[in-house]
């Protein structure tokens, strides 16, 4: 029951806008009703900022407790021994696995998702568009744990053949060599993540493509453009920033995806140079897998790795926003 320490954040703060704030606020904020309402809504906004700050502060604090006792280098150590005396742990393996699996997922998912979005807005027979986008909407809502279960019990057995194939023809690259073991590797994770983020990227891209003003498409058509040329001239340029933000949303999900990775991957604390050999790990998967057996110190170490994940997702989001902002001078003109 001792959650009262959390509570002060939740109730609406009292409306006490300062004089300067009142001046800055909308002209209407003079009546009591207006002031209360403004206070309530602004308070909620401030609360969101407070939560974000609290996340950063608390994670950093707990992480610092762990990292200060770490005998290894937190960023470059290849092991995770929080129980050892002295403890030695680092995130190198996790960072590698997280980045690799997310890149695989993006490489597979983004082109396919954009193609499906175009399919839904420009290619599919009109009768089919409604039902198909409906199905994709619903699939975006399938919980990740269900994807994980499906991936582990259905997808993995089906990948044996493909992995053998890749090993036969591309094994010489080293990246696609496959010694043995079940196909529970980074590539499997990447494929599953791709399937999982596909609906999100598709949905957002579809919305963006749908908003392309009819008149731009007609302009291209009237110049004698084929359907593909209309898409290239009018649809893709207009939708580019939207597609980027859609992809970033997908990337964010792929980076932080926990359960699907934890169910499918056969983890180890090593870096596998081949994408087909089982092993490796991701930040989120490592936290979920190690959590239940971790001591309090072990949990702090996991929090430290979570902080890194947090920072990475912050950077990804920041980059996405910067890209969108830069393109606004073009696409915003007719919005």
């Amino acid at each position: 029951m001792d959650i009262s320490t959390q509570k002060p954040q939740s109730p609406p703060p009292l409306p006490q806008p300062s004089v300067t704030e009142q001046k800055r606020a909308a002209r209407g904020a003079t009546r009591p009703g207006d002031r209360i309402f403004l206070g309530l809504t602004r308070g909620s906004g401030i609360l969101l900022l407070v939560i974000m700050a609290a996340i950063a502060v608390f994670l950093t604090y707990r992480a610092s407790l762990a990292i200060s006792k770490d005998e290894g280098n937190f960023l470059t150590t290849f092991e995770w021994n929080t129980g050892a005396v002295p403890p030695v742990f680092g995130i190198a393996v996790l960072a590698f696995g997280t980045v690799v699996s997310s890149i695989i997922a993006m490489v597979i998912a983004v082109p396919i998702a954009v193609a499906i979005a175009l399919f839904l807005t420009h290619y599919a027979p009109r009768r089919l568009r409604g039902p198909i986008s409906y199905v994709i909407d619903l699939l975006a809502a399938v919980p990740s744990i269900v994807y994980g279960l499906w991936g582990a019990l259905i997808l993995v057995p089906h990948l044996n053949g493909l992995f053998g194939w890749l090993n036969d023809y591309l094994g010489w690259t080293g990246v696609f060599s496959w010694q043995d073991g079940p196909p529970r590797s980074m590539l499997t994770v990447g494929v599953l993540l791709a399937i999982m983020i596909l609906p999100i990227i598709t949905n957002v891209s579809r919305e963006v493509f749908r908003q392309v003003p009819q008149m731009h498409e007609e302009a291209a058509l009237a110049l004698g453009a084929t359907r593909w040329e209309v898409i290239r001239m009018a649809v893709l340029p207009f939708g580019r920033s939207g597609v980027i933000s859609a992809s970033m949303l997908g990337l964010g999900r792929a980076l932080g995806e926990t359960m699907a990775v934890a169910t499918v991957l056969s983890p180890s604390f090593t870096i596998q140079t081949s994408l087909l050999d089982p092993g490796g790990g991701t930040f989120a998967q490592n936290i979920a897998s190690k959590f239940s057996e971790a001591t309090e110190f072990g949990r702090d170490a996991l929090i430290a790795s979570g902080l890194v994940l947090f920072v990475i997702t912050l950077l990804v989001n920041g980059a996405a926003r910067a890209i969108i902002a830069r393109r606004k001078e073009y696409s915003g003109a007719n919005a």
Binding site: A29, R31, L38, T41, G45, I55, A115, I116, E257
Partner: protein, 353 residues
């Protein structure tokens, strides 16, 4: 002279050689047959390879034939069409497989007994047991999360759309974006760090707090979109009648957009209902029925699925239960989605499309 420059490079006629309407189907049939043929001949054992082969043949065949008959521009157009279709089919196959597997395997043990009993006295490797405790836990955790997250989200969105100017609004907008990208496990770790400091044991409401954090930015975004759809003329009309701004928002803006707002909230509920990671850290899971979200470990539906899968060492009854619970969870999420969409359609602002 310059007129001739343009004229030279155009096709002299309005007609061009066109492939017959049925040609894509013919090429598709041919490539599928060839793909299966090659697959069988080369002894490839996985349908995944057959499908990839057929897709590749379809693309190459389309481009080759179209380029020969219709010219390069048309061939590009054709291959774009072919690619888009292949991508669509490529995506539909795993998604269909997921739905099919969940339904087919889920119905095995899904019955009234399953829905009304807990795992209290059932070992993971034995048949029997149910998900009553998990459903109860999920409903409580998600319900509490909604009570916290939805109002804050809606109010924030109102602030951003109706009042938001200046640096505070900019900061909020920015951090809502950032918050959207927070992995669920990080939200879980945040609450966990609080619990470590207060020396608390796992309990349901801790999970609710993490879920609320995940829910807020989603609600803010969807509500913002809906409020922005309300035409400014409506606001101005109301303000011009001397109605105070807050009443304008409550009486004009919100009612116009309420359908979309509710839809957004329900969709965000559907999203957090499937979250496993924070629940794993904060609520921990419990085979027994615990109806008090404020004390003691609780179960939750997604967590139940994970634990049945991960802690059962491959026993079939546990897998069956995991599938049945998945089916239940999907059904819950789908119903929420359907209802949300129903509301959106029913309450849609009467503008254009």
């Amino acid at each position: 002279m310059s007129t001739a420059l343009v004229a030279d490079k155009r096709p002299s006629t309005l007609r061009g050689a066109r492939l017959p309407k049925w040609s894509p189907w013919a090429i598709a049939t041919g490539s599928i047959a060839l793909g299966i043929g090659i697959g069988l001949a080369a002894g490839l054992d996985s349908e995944v390879q057959w499908g990839l082969l057929a897709g590749l043949l379809f693309l190459l065949g389309t481009y080759g034939i179209a380029a020969r008959v219709e010219g390069r521009r048309q061939a590009k157009d054709r291959i774009a069409t072919a690619l888009v279709w292949v991508a669509f089919i490529l995506a539909v196959v795993p998604l269909a497989s997921l739905v099919w597997a969940t339904v087919q395997r889920g119905v095995k043990v899904l019955d009234v007994y399953f829905l009304t009993h807990s795992m209290g006295v059932v070992a993971d490797s034995e048949p029997g047991g149910g998900i009553y405790h998990a459903i109860l836990g999920s409903l409580e955790q998600v319900g509490l999360a909604t009570l916290i997250g939805a109002p804050i989200g809606v109010l924030t969105a109102i602030y951003l759309v109706e009042y938001g100017r200046g640096s505070l609004a900019k900061a909020v907008t920015f951090f809502v974006d950032v918050m959207t990208g927070i992995p669920s496990i990080v939200a879980g770790l945040f609450i966990l760090s609080l619990m470590l400091m207060l020396d608390l044991q796992p309990f349901g409401f801790a999970g609710s707090l993490a879920l609320a954090i995940l829910m807020m930015p989603v609600v803010v975004r969807s509500t913002e979109e809906m409020l922005k759809l309300v035409p400014n003329e409506l606001r101005e009309a109301s303000l011009a009648l001397g109605v105070p701004k807050w009443r304008t928002i409550l009486k004009v803006v919100l009612p116009t957009s309420i359908g979309g707002i509710v839809t957004g909230i329900m969709l965000s509920i559907a999203r957090i209902a499937g979250e496993t990671a924070p629940v794993l850290l904060l609520v921990f899971g419990n085979p027994f029925i615990n109806a008090n979200p404020f004390e003691g470990a609780q179960a939750s539906l997604p967590l139940y699925i994970y634990q049945q899968y991960a802690q059962s060492a491959g026993s079939q009854p546990a897998y069956d239960r995991a599938w049945a619970a998945s089916l239940t969870l999907i059904a819950f999420v789908m119903i929420l989605n359907l209802v949300a969409r129903g509301i959106a359609r029913w309450k849609a602002p009467k503008t254009g499309r």
